[in-house]
Point group: C2
Chain length 391, copies 2
């Protein structure tokens, strides 16, 4: 079917969202019926403003750079869209003879994807095909085994916590609390477990938003570990809540109706200083780790390219209202196959860590999680040497 392509990025960037863009653009260029491959420069709002760049005009050299470009090379947005915005998007789609629409994003973007599809239907654009490309560092998209972006975020936290653990062991610092992104789902914090080399290095404790954080147990665990091994590395999700379901950090100020909280990592480090009398410090890499190319997982990057290309293939085959996902195939060797998931199954749902991936005490992950996660971070972490155990 003759028509143009529209590519839109939504939500926070990842280390491989541009790799999906690369996959989608290179695939779309193969089809003679596609005249223009428009990228919206600045997310869904840019569609309404008709800020398009035809990716066909971009040199191959610049396209290749997408594979190692952090954040989103075409911008992205967190615009909240109203019903009239979806109608406006549908009218822009009609005006520019766009037949193939691709939203790259997380739960929210998949919701937008579904709504754009419906707005096109309402405008009589029954032949427009809308397909989602999954993307999230948080790994909270439903149905798919995992989503592009997570493997690199996992590699970042694993490599970083491995280095922090060597630092803590060398100095020794009593306690370092590293804050991991993921407000409602603990996948990134959990991935720090891959830092463990097997010789007793950290992380020593991992706290996930899926389990209530119990201050007394935390302090008892830290105390026991400091007495046993000296330096302790704690990884805490930014979204920890107490048994009452409220954030464990107290509100620090209010602006209008919004309440601002302190950082979980600083809060826990301060607790350790005040209540246990140990030296403690906090690290909060925050968005430093969200789109880090140095820690890009090769597996994640390759799958991101595939997700972009598969979305284009699906649309060209006549599919619409689907999101590309990955099904993990059984067997010892890691293998996935791309699948097409009805978009209503993922719209605004949020996948948290299943019970079998969290240990009973709620202060660590299970071996099953580590096995599940290990292939996603790509090459094994760099080996290192330590002589402390030689004595």
């Amino acid at each position: 079917m003759k028509g143009n392509v529209l590519l839109v990025h939504g939500g926070a960037p990842t280390a491989v969202i541009n790799a999906s863009l690369y996959g989608a653009v290179t695939e779309a260029k193969k089809y003679a019926e596609v005249d223009h491959i428009y990228a919206a420069i600045g997310g869904s709002g840019a569609v309404i403003r008709e800020q398009f760049l035809d990716m066909k005009t971009v040199s191959d050299d610049r396209l290749e750079l997408l594979l190692s470009t952090p954040a989103s090379a075409i911008g992205t947005s967190r615009d909240h869209l109203e019903p009239e915005d979806y109608e406006a998007i549908a009218r822009v789609i009609r005006k520019h003879d766009i037949k193939y629409v691709f939203f790259n994003g997380g739960n929210g973007s998949m919701d937008a994807c579904g709504k754009v599809y419906k707005a096109c239907q309402a405008l009589g654009l029954t032949d427009v095909r809308v397909v989602g490309i999954p993307k999230t560092i948080d790994n909270d998209i439903a149905v798919t085994d995992h989503a592009p972006g997570f493997g690199s975020a996992a590699r970042y936290i694993a490599a970083t916590v491995s280095e922090v653990s060597q630092d803590v062991r060398a100095l020794p610092i009593h306690v370092s609390v590293v804050e991991a992104m993921g407000r409602n789902a603990g996948w990134i914090a959990a991935a720090s477990a891959l830092a463990r080399s097997g010789d007793g290095d950290g992380p020593d404790l991992i706290y996930l938003p899926e389990r209530p954080f119990i201050e007394e147990e935390f302090l008892a665990d830290v105390k026991a570990l400091v007495e046993k091994k000296g330096g302790v590395v704690v990884v805490a999700s930014e979204g920890l809540t107490g048994p009452d379901g409220q954030p464990i950090v107290e509100p620090i100020f209010q602006v209008g109706r919004a309440t601002y909280y302190g950082d979980v990592s600083a809060h826990l480090a301060n607790l350790v200083i005040k209540k246990l009398g140990y030296k403690a410090r906090s690290e909060k890499p925050g968005i430093c780790g969200r789109a880090s190319i140095a820690f890009q997982s090769s597996v994640d990057r390759d799958e991101a390219v595939i997700a972009g290309a598969e979305a284009v293939k699906a649309a060209m085959e006549g599919q619409t209202g689907v999101m590309i996902g990955f099904e993990r195939l059984p067997g010892a060797e890691y293998k996935v196959k791309p699948i097409r998931i009805p978009i209503e199954q993922v719209m605004l749902t949020e996948r948290t860590m299943p019970a079998e991936f969290i240990n009973e005490r709620g202060n660590d992950v299970t071996d099953a999680f580590v096995e599940w996660c290990r292939p996603l971070i790509g090459e094994p972490l760099r080996p290192f040497v330590t002589f402390k155990n030689d004595l």
Copy 2:
């Protein structure tokens, strides 16, 4: 002169302290008169406890791993040493027939180096040679052009702020404040300027402890920049003080006689939210960036190996009471030559950023600094592509 070697690490680890260890050990192995190459496993305290590992017993494969091992593979310490401790160290040196002593560290370790030398003299060990190997992420060691450890810390902050800038530009976040280590010297915060690719990316503002932080000017600068370009990246040294010389962060609690402060980055982000009403967030990579191998600078690593080897050469040539440093040679191409600096010139002195490296308003560095710093981070940062300017 027949005798054994003793290697000691002091202070916080870096990405290349183990590279200096590699340089020292491989050099020391060349001398037939050296029987044992002892490494103290755990800093100066380990010398008193006689916790030694003979590095001659370590396989070449493990030694090679030192070049890419984060933190300190033989441990390190921040032990405060009393006069009797130096005497104890001198007695251990006599007991183990040690003639060549190497302290790898910063200002504090160079002070220890000098005191060990004097304690040996006092014990009649007039032939013991004590040589310092410089190491600091903070780059605050005097006389030398720069010290091993800084180039990698500089590369980390430059690469990280480059990625944060792309993230902020893509989303856009209004303001991100990244906290850089370096309590009294702003070298690391300053090095974030190398993140600028020339197309308007951040950092937009850099605040150094060498200049008083003036809140009103900061807020005015942020406001003007947000209005002009949307997203703003601020880099702030952890040690910022106000015009009164006091930390800009308020004390949050007291334990015994120690006062604890909040984080500078969170403080500045909160100021922006409260006083300007913009969305702002803070990132504090902390020790995540102190010894990061992924961001190790090849130039830094090579120089660290040279510093270790040169220290051994100096001692073998009869030198004592010196620290190895680097003198930058004039010319367009970056070249340094190792020099030997009398240790009393560096003991406990702290080198801060000179005036010619800081801009007049005190919210950025000068081109002279960028030129000085660029070769130290090794290979240029990875190129990336952005299409925002194509429209």
